[in-house]
Point group: C2
Chain length 385, copies 2
DNA sequence: GGCGTTAGTTAAGCGTCCTTACATATCAGC
DNA sequence: GCTGATATGTAAGGACGCTTAACTAACGCC
């Protein structure tokens, strides 16, 4: 392969590519373009076929064809002629039927109680249900999930597009829960089993990852480079880079709760000391400010914020993030903790990166994970996100 | 859009998607599949059309067609019948003609001297040229680049597939150098100008990013999740996540040299104190171990390694990386610094992540950036990486 | 030599998108 | 009200890409 005179760097071996790129057929292109049309309607709202053609770059002919297909699937509907009067033939507006189908969403991040909801295609929450765990784990916890799903499916008035689940633990790309200590799940093929049991498409992701998706699609995240820090009993993060969820080599990306930041810190449940979780998780924070007056509590929260900022500066700097979003108890995170973390990050990073960085609470409140679960389904079933 | 009874999370707004996905035509699919064939030959080596069909998932008919196209382009060649004897008609082996075209590669990371080389398609270095800068910056430095390229193009014995450049500074996806203080470049559309001046395809990336690509494709990087830490006069990093270069919101991903890790540290050229670069850059390291005996020097390097490990643990943990590769002076980085950093990362991260993490020197030595520049061209022109 | 197996090609068909042409419906100006 | 310009949407025909089915070529095995 190499000419004799060539010098070759030492150890110069060629390995297989990582992204196992697969073949693309004309039919896949069709699917992609169909999603493109839906995406346009989803994000920009109702418009004419000609508008869609301009937006997607496809011809009017092709767009008409795709729209006809979507009309047949009852995913979009004609909304009559465009009200404003212009030169030329009046345009027929087509819009996404946000009630065309419903999405069943689960948020399993609460230890005590599973949270379920029915959402429409626009992300609006239509119904809610709670399912207390009462300490059940493993197979029993799975049974709770199935029962909750069945209940929600029966409550949904429309055909169900799919089921989305945000769960704590490590989840692989196929929707199998590799490890979720709190729920007692190990290598549970959750998406596959649920899909079998419910006869519906099921998409599963880590809760913090789902939160990142939700914040991006429904929380109006500004652009590429988003990290959601989910603070609850533990601490997790979800990373959305270049519009894609980053999963990591062991599907453990964002699992920063047990990264040690202070070798002389407090003992952690994981057996080491000074994990980020010993500083930032909700119980730890409540314990530290319990009994303090307002001012002292704020000072304490600010000092935690500064330490968080010190840790985040490295991640923000390495990834050149645009936004860091906090999800969790607003009373703990939303005030001086956030402010201190923000200014600490700015102090520690290069100005271009730091100056434009947003550090804020989630705009979706406690529904981030539900919204993210919906995005999993929208993205998986319709190619919309 | 929302039914009246629906409850909607506060601030629930729908924004436009970030990945501005564009239309896909059948012709694009063809291009993709053509790359798939090349990719197979590049990574797995010569094989028969039938083998390629099995590997790509395409039919033998389609593969034959694609191979015919590649034969006409003289990118691949028939290597005769397969030597081993099996049942059935003997297979005709086709292989990539690594000498079919040459690639002109530039490494601008050295302050004093630009480094250029001609590589073949297998990444072997065929010719080298140096171009001393003698303090030239701005337009004069650009002239050196052009002259170096012209020289290398004239030296290359084959048609030149393209020009790849790894340069310090912030580079956008179009190959424009937004800021490169050392070279005195600001908003220089390097790829575009070079492409005009040379009448060749030109691909430009940050040097550390190029190094990451080079290490991945030619250094046998293990899989998804690679960070290359380029230690020289300054400090930069390149991140390869899920097979894609991560550029960041300001194209500044990996610019961690000026992230502050120690507010009470040494003053940095950037005006702040305790930047990572004040600890890890080559001049700083040399200054610290200068005059020390072997043991003391190793202890010093180990302490730097521990601090590096503390910083890296967060990044490795957040991204769930598989490999961190050091590029730079082996005498400084390759010994106790590396060992200390490695063990510190393991100590600080969750075992699943830390246990499988590799932290090693680059396998390509000083040629990483050149190799990466070649990958830019291979990937951009042939879809191979 | 017959049979099964594998490699590669040829022919026909289907799907996808494009270009071109046309029908439809409005506005602006006379 | 009529005409010309402009814009939307559809119809027909063609180019391209992949597939299936059928065929030829060449080998090992019995």
């Amino acid at each position: 392969m190499t000419t004799a005179s060539a010098t070759r760097p030492p150890g110069h071996t060629v390995r297989r590519p990582l992204r196992p790129t697969t073949k693309v057929l004309p039919g896949h292109a069709r699917q992609h373009n169909r999603s493109l049309v839906l995406q346009g309607l989803f994000h920009t709202g109702p418009m004419s076929r000609a508008d869609l053609a301009r937006e997607t770059g496809l011809t009017r002919v092709t767009v008409s064809d795709l729209v006809a297909e979507l009309l047949a699937d009852e995913l979009v509907e004609e909304l009559g002629l465009r009200p404003e009067s212009r030169v030329g033939k009046p345009a027929t507006i087509v819009g996404l039927r946000s009630g065309a189908a419903h999405i069943v969403c689960l948020d399993l991040s609460d230890e005590a109680c599973m949270l379920g909801a029915v959402l429409d295609l626009s992300g609006a929450v239509l119904h809610r249900r709670l399912a207390p765990l009462n300490g059940r784990t493993g197979e029993a916890a799975y049974d709770v999930v199935v029962a909750l799903c069945r209940e929600l499916v029966s409550v949904a008035g429309r055909p169900v597009l799919g089921v989305g689940v945000g769960t704590p633990g490590v989840v692989d790309a196929a929707g199998a829960v590799l490890r979720a200590p709190n729920l007692g799940w190990t290598a549970l093929p959750l998406a596959q089993r649920l899909s079998n049991d419910l006869a519906l498409p099921v998409h599963v992701a880590n809760d913090a990852n789902a939160a990142a998706l939700g914040e991006h699609t429904f929380g109006g995240a500004a652009g590429s480079g988003l990290m959601v820090l989910a603070v609850g009993k533990g601490l997790g993060a979800g990373l959305l880079l270049d519009g894609d969820l980053h999963r990591g080599h062991h599907n453990a990306a964002g699992e920063i709760g047990h990264v040690m930041v202070d070798p002389r810190g407090v003992a952690c449940a994981c057996g080491r000391r000074g994990c980020l979780e010993t500083i930032l998780a909700a119980p730890a924070l409540r314990a530290r400010i319990g009994g303090l007056d307002r001012r002292a509590a704020n000072a304490t929260l600010a000092s935690v914020g500064r330490r968080l900022g010190g840790a985040l500066a490295l991640i923000v700097g390495a990834l050149d993030l645009r936004e860091v979003v906090l999800s969790g108890p607003v009373d703990l995170l939303g005030g001086s903790l956030r402010d201190a973390a923000h200014s600490e990050i700015r102090k520690r990073s290069m100005s271009i990166v730091g100056d434009e960085l947003d550090l804020r609470m989630t705009r979706l409140g406690a529904d981030v994970v539900l919204a993210g679960a919906a995005v999993l389904v929208l993205s998986g079933q319709l190619g919309v996100s």
